[in-house]
């Protein structure tokens, strides 16, 4: 590439990374606010989470546009190309994480009699682990740190364990209190959404690893507790 192209490419990549980081920040806050809304039954806050998701969608299309333009105009090679492809994929995944948070926020109004729900104390703890995964994977992306990315991948087991425990808990709750089945089912969906957020954070971590090293991380999830 000529010097001019290199400089222009560098500027485009910097902007692309900036937009991804901005999306990440929005997704993180969406998870936190959705949980806050759920715990304190704050429907206004829940509505704000839903409204703010529009911004995330807009940024995603900005990422798409910019990435496609960079590939078309600058024809990047090797690790530059990996960087653009990773940004394109990560943008899509972060947008999905935002969608899950929005989905949680939408269910806040549909839960009745929240005082009696034991799982309501477990879900925020699960959300904390999932949100931390999202936070750390974005930091790993910003720092191009494959080791931190691998650490995030290992933490997905914790989220899965939480999901199993919440699932069992809610099912037995439904059996004992048939009157609350619909609310319990909402919580089940919320736990499911959080579990998906953990999976998506894992996906992002794999792409961060790919962008930084060119390989996908080895499967080491079970024997390293």
């Amino acid at each position: 590439m000529t010097e001019h192209t290199v400089k222009a490419f560098d500027e485009d990549i910097t902007r692309l990374r900036g937009i991804i980081a901005e999306m990440g920040g929005l997704a993180e806050v969406a998870i936190q606010d959705a949980m806050q809304a759920l715990v304190s039954a704050d429907e206004d806050l829940a509505r704000q989470v839903v409204e703010r998701d529009v911004k995330l969608d807009k940024l995603e299309s900005e990422v798409d546009e910019l990435a496609v333009r960079v590939i078309a105009l600058r024809a990047p090679m090797a690790d530059d190309l990996r960087e653009v492809i990773a940004a394109l994929k990560i943008g899509g995944v972060v947008e999905r994480i935002g969608d899950y948070a929005k989905n949680i926020a939408k269910r806040v109004g549909r839960i009745e009699g929240r005082k009696r729900f034991e799982p309501l104390t477990l879900i925020p703890a699960m959300a904390e682990v999932a949100a931390e995964m999202v936070h750390d994977v974005l930091t790993a992306y910003a720092a191009r740190d494959p080791v931190l990315a691998r650490e995030v991948i290992q933490r997905d087991d914790k989220v899965d364990a939480f999901y199993d425990s919440i699932f069992r808990n809610l099912v037995s709750h439904m059996v004992e209190n048939p009157a609350t089945i619909s609310s319990a089912a909402q919580l089940l969906f919320i736990a499911r959404n959080l579990e998906r957020i953990g999976d998506h954070a894992t996906n992002v971590a794999e792409m961060v690893h790919y962008a930084a090293t060119g390989t996908y991380p080895p499967e080491e999830r079970d024997h390293d507790a």
């Binding site: 910097t14 920040g25 904390e128 910003a142 507790a225």
Partner: protein
């Protein structure tokens, strides 16, 4: 005519040269030197100026980070240099501030850790550059939260042993001789046990509040974690339980920056927990290793019945107990792991607890090691 003509041309030439010399000498003067000085201060001068200012400062060229001083690199990581400012500040409030035409100030949550609070200020310089200043407000937010937590929890925890001490002593005082000696001995025993518990609780609360007070003040002393672990693990086990302790540590020293009293307390608490709640027949393994990314990895493993997954996330909360009766019977105050967590956080470490029902629990602490002084510019 010819002579006069020559004089005329000479006169013209002299005048022309004189006028020319005015043009030759005038351009350089006043404005130029000042401009050169101004140019120099922009980058290098600026870098020097803010490098050791004591608080995180960054200089942005448009939206790109061009200078980050030593505090900013420590707080946000070295990788932010040359990046879009949103990579360092992705919180929506910060992104909003970065997008404004004018400067301003916002409060940003979770910039460095889940519970951190920073005041971020951005002001324009020379039209093209922006100065970003960060002030840590975490301590202020923490103090008010910690205060309410403490009053709520501690009063409950202190009241329980006090109530039973008062109850038994009242009975002994009122009934006096009517209580048979065996029963009286039992009562005295209970009173003593409850008083001891109260004493332990007060001690633990004191160390917890001490750790919290120093939370944002990073320890500077270098020490060998290997020797410390060995000493503290033996101490935590005590002579009666020493045979159940198995210790693995590398030959070479594992150097970390830390507060030796506090780190000893971490090891003692973990070893004591493992011995107390693990299988009384099985050994407790304490191992220290040089892990990935130059982290010191300390593991304490027991072979007890394990902890149910739903309890795991709450273990480091103050006064959280998986089985209140059993913990109290074993003399636990419910603060041991909370103290461990705070100390580890102060040392910029990470605490992980993994457990399988029926197999036991592994507590892992990762702490950054000190290398052979690899500080310097990147």
């Amino acid at each position: 005519m010819l002579v006069a003509g020559t004089d005329f041309w000479i006169a013209i030439a002299v005048v022309a040269i004189w006028i020319g010399s005015i043009f030759l000498f005038t351009p350089p003067p006043p404005s130029a030197p000042a401009q050169v000085e101004g140019m120099q201060l922009t980058r290098d001068g600026m870098r020097e100026l803010i490098e050791h200012s004591g608080m995180p400062l960054l200089l942005l060229d448009g939206s790109r980070i061009v200078i980050a001083n030593v505090e900013a690199r420590e707080v946000l990581g070295r990788h932010i240099l040359g990046q879009d400012a949103r990579v360092a500040f992705r919180h929506p409030a910060a992104v909003d501030l970065l997008g404004r035409d004018k400067g301003g100030s916002v409060t940003v949550q979770g910039l460095t850790g889940p519970r951190s609070t920073w005041q971020m200020t951005r002001q324009p310089i020379d039209g093209r550059y922006w100065l970003v200043e960060l002030i840590n407000r975490t301590t202020e937010a923490d103090i008010s939260r910690a205060h309410t937590d403490f009053v709520a929890n501690a009063s409950h925890e202190l009241r329980t042993p006090l109530a039973s001490i008062i109850g038994y002593v009242e009975t002994l005082a009122e009934e006096g001789e009517n209580v048979d000696p065996d029963m009286a001995a039992k009562f005295h025993d209970t009173v003593l046990k409850e008083a001891r518990r109260l004493q332990n609780l007060v001690n633990d609360l004191m160390s917890l509040s001490r750790v919290e007070a120093e939370k944002h003040d990073q320890p500077r002393d270098k020490l060998d974690l290997g020797a410390l672990t060995e000493r503290a693990a033996r101490d935590g086990a005590g002579p009666q339980r020493l045979d159940r302790l198995v210790l693995h540590r590398p030959e070479e020293p594992i150097t970390v920056r830390g507060d030796s009293d506090q780190l000893e307390q971490v090891v003692r608490n973990l070893v004591d927990n493992a011995l107390k709640y693990g299988d009384p027949e099985a050994p407790v393994e304490v191992s220290l290793a040089h892990g990935e990314r130059d982290m010191a990895v300390l593991e304490v493993r027991d072979r007890g019945e394990g902890i149910a997954p739903e309890h795991l996330p709450h273990l480091t909360r103050r006064f959280y107990r998986t089985d209140p009766g059993r913990s109290r019977a074993a003399g636990g105050t419910g603060l041991g792991l909370a103290i461990v967590k705070h100390i580890v956080e102060r040392h910029r470490g990470r605490l992980d607890i993994a457990s399988k029902r029926g197999q036991g629990t592994i507590v892992t602490i990762r702490m950054p090691m000190v290398g052979e002084e690899v500080e310097g510019e990147s």
